[in-house]
Amino acid sequence: MTVSIQAVNDFVIKFANVNGSGSASANGMFAKALFRMGIPCAPRNIFPSNIQGLPTWFEVRISEAGHLGRREGVDLMVAMNAETYAQDVAEVRPGGFLLFDSTKPFPKAMRRDDITFIGVPIAELILGEFPDPKQRQLFKNIVYVGALAELLEIEWNVLTGMIEEQFKGKEKLIGPNVRALEIGRDYARDYLQTPLPIRVARCDGVGDSILIDGNTAAALGFLWGGATVAAWYPITPSTSLAEAFEQHANRLRRDEEGKGNRFAVLQAEDELSAIGMVIGAGWNGARAFTATSGPGLSLMQEFLGLAYFAEIPAVLVDVQRAGPSTGMPTRTQQSDLLLGAYASHGDTKHVMLLPSTPKECFDFAVEALDLAERLQTPILIMTDLDLGMNDHISPPFQWDDARCYDRGKVLDADGLDAVEKWGRYLDVDGDGIGWRTLPGTHPEKGSFFTRGTSRDEYAKYTESGEVYQRNMERLQKKWATAATLVPKAEIREGSKPKACGIIYYGTSEPPMAEALQALKRQGIELDAMRIRAFPFGSEVYEFIDRHEAVFVVEQNRDAQLRSLLIIEGDIDPACLVPVLHYDGMPLPAQVVERHVAEYFAAHRKPRLSEVTP
């Protein structure tokens, strides 16, 4: 008999459910209860591309040490879907636990003797309590949360408090929900060994953090950042971003009388139209954005080239999912980096921001609106499904009321009267950025024709090769300006220099500290750099230059960020060692640890016995 896992505030629990059964909200409640007990935790919804009837999972990593990346292996499986029993049993670590609905016996053939099976006859327990079959289905989920409260020692008033909050205004639902919790709790108390050797305990691990998903965070950033036009087409996993924007704007962006909207949300007929609307609005002076995912970004290519060449502000969020083609629409990846960086035909380059946390989703949304108008070009915020759709513990959002929007170089009527000679694409400031004008500004001055075809500094059509090339070179100068304005990389270096470094970005952040600690225990110490934007600032290349070899951690097959570093920085590919993870699940620390350790094992100097014949 294997010894049971013992742990307080340090384990992984996974819920196996059927999708469309209301499990996501019960599981979310479970995670939030831990958060409210001050325990760092990371919930992750692993869902099918389906509305009802297919298997779905919800994983929560609980770590008082704050290691919130995904961890391999499950300590407690809440197996509520008989169809996936075999797979769910297999995932449990030796010494772990599996909770199941014992209304029907658990098949002997699937049992393991190195894990503890905990039966709660959920269906039977609620049969007498709730007559409505639909309610029964929903309350099943609440019952297991109640049982877990007893098994894991979740504070009771935290759970009931959440139910009261959730059903504020629909008070008659509070009673039945609490009753469902009690049914689970009472059964566990009366018939099961409690608490389990793995359990939780209130701690002080979350401070003033908030628990929020990146899509909502970005939507709020756009709201605070002054976006007025949002155009989008529904696509997983970005849909909730546009919906959150509309929902919060309806509340926070009405005029004083509460009548008129100070925003317009357009659900477009496709992504081509969505980005076209954003470009039209940006051209006409409004702050506008769209949110999409890989297939949508593919469709937007032609328009992004136009916006690059015609120099029109636009903001796009790509909540990346597993590609190519339809790929795995409900799985996460960082595989659109190259598509975003060089979107469209011809010589194009686009600014990309790479947030890691909901706080950064908020901040970068605000920043992107400023950068788009300052640089007069599309800004792509590259998040992913894990960051966008899952709740994450994040520092709270902050706003400085003295902050002004940077509307960039726009000449108004007085400005036009004041300048001697104006040309839309004249580089008068030496930063590669011209002064633009908006339609309707001045009766006599400042009108020009925006086009994707070549034109001179005064926006006049031309097919002169020399003029075309001059313009392309100015755009390159603007690109260099962009590199000085985008968020700098975050560098973590100790006082003593290390031979090797590691580069990562986006949602590879949560597992990184854990991976680096584990490597240190093995005697491998690395300097670390989190890249936050493209084009890369000089600090990125300097970091690479300081190290003999640098690992580049990515959630894609083709080492796309590494390619960008090689292409843009002229870096010797031999110096950049790819560490890749692309099965569609968030990156676990163990993958980084394994890859890096293997590299060191393979590159250590040979021992004498190994070279002597």
Partner: protein, 351 residues
């Protein structure tokens, strides 16, 4: 081709409008289209309409897609901002621009390839959204800029320059526009300025989505015998169903038409839109009747022109979305940013 400016001198006695401007003030660069191209007549009609309506040119935004027709915004209203976007996607750009600033006039210029083929989806949806703009299709049934391929508005059986017949059914854009929610739909002919200019004026003053399908022959590739979009064919096969005149506020309204054939519609700016029903049984405010007539005429190879459909109480997308009166592009931090206190409340809601 390079940019060609027109000489700025003009006859001192050219008529001036309410803004003291002559027609020349509404011109653009010299056209680079083929001599005799119908599109140049459409540009001239737009110049005349804007001049007569005394629209300040800088308050107009001209948008287009790609193709011969989409080149024309360079050739009129030189003091307006213009946007030559990507092929078939002018509607989305116009939609975004209109959302940003509801106070400007928007003129969209497209062609039959741009609108009926590559851009058919965007066309359908801008109609549904009722963007307040004037959308003109210079319809010549052919791809001029790529030298003479059939377009989707080309009639079945109509022949190419080399004599090959078109094998596919045509798309009637005016019919589509009526069916999916345009509040002003007209068809005209680039060779009939007397009809086109008043229709353009009425369209520009229409506070909703106004669509004009203007048959505009391509002299290079689709003006031969056998083509149903040639000058000759169009001249001999059109029948005007109704026309519209825009009567400015100060003009006295005199009724000198046969009873039942004229109707006056009050416009929001105080002017009057006068409808002349030229066809006894045709009522341009009967949506279903209009579609019935268009289909029946098309069956016998005739082209119904004039004002085909009018909703005289139109709504537009800003009304649908309930946006504020001030252009969204002009709003600043004070109107847009909910501020730190509200953000703190958001933080609290996520704890």
């Amino acid at each position: 081709m390079t940019f060609v400016a027109k000489p700025r001198t003009h006859h001192p006695k050219l008529p001036r409008n309410d803004l003291g401007l002559t027609r020349r003030d509404y011109e653009g660069a010299v056209s680079t289209l083929c001599a005799g191209c119908g599109h140049d007549s459409v540009s001239a009609a737009i110049i005349q309409a804007c001049h007569e309506l005394s629209i300040p040119a800088h308050r107009v935004a001209k948008l287009s897609g790609i193709g011969c027709s989409s080149k024309t915004p360079t050739y009129f209203l030189g003091k307006s901002h213009g946007f030559n976007s990507v092929h078939g996607r002018m509607p989305s750009v116009a939609t975004g621009a209109n959302m940003a600033n509801r106070e400007l006039y928007y003129i969209g210029i497209s062609g039959d390839g741009d609108t009926a083929s590559i851009g058919l989806g965007q066309f359908a949806h801008i109609v549904r959204r009722r963007i307040n703009m004037t959308y003109v299709v210079d319809n010549n049934g052919t791809y001029g800029l790529t030298k003479g391929q059939f377009s989707a508005t080309n009639d079945k059986g109509s022949t190419s320059k080399k004599g090959a017949p078109n094998l596919y059914e045509p798309i009637d854009l005016a019919m589509m526009a009526i069916q999916i929610g345009a509040t002003f739909v007209a068809r005209s002919f680039s060779g009939d300025k007397a009809q086109l200019v008043p229709l353009l004026k009425a369209a520009l003053k229409h506070e909703g989505f106004a669509f004009l399908d203007v048959i505009s022959p391509c002299v290079a590739f689709n003006n031969h015998n056998g083509s149903t979009k040639s000058y000759e064919y169009v001249r001999s096969h059109t029948e005007t169903m109704a026309v519209a005149d825009l009567i400015p506020i100060r003009d006295e309204i005199r009724v000198d038409y046969a009873p039942g054939t004229v109707e006056d519609v009050a416009m929001p700016d105080g002017s009057t839109l006068r409808l002349h029903k030229l066809h006894r049984d045709y009522d341009p405010r009967d949506r279903v009747g209009a579609m019935d007539t268009l289909m029946r005429r098309a069956e016998v190879g005739e082209i119904a022109t004039g004002l085909l459909y009018l909703d005289d109480d139109p709504s537009d997308c800003h009304e649908i979305l309930n946006t504020v009166n001030a252009p969204l592009a002009t709003l600043g931090e004070a109107e847009l940013c909910p501020g730190s206190e509200r953000l703190e409340a958001i933080n609290a809601a996520f704890r």
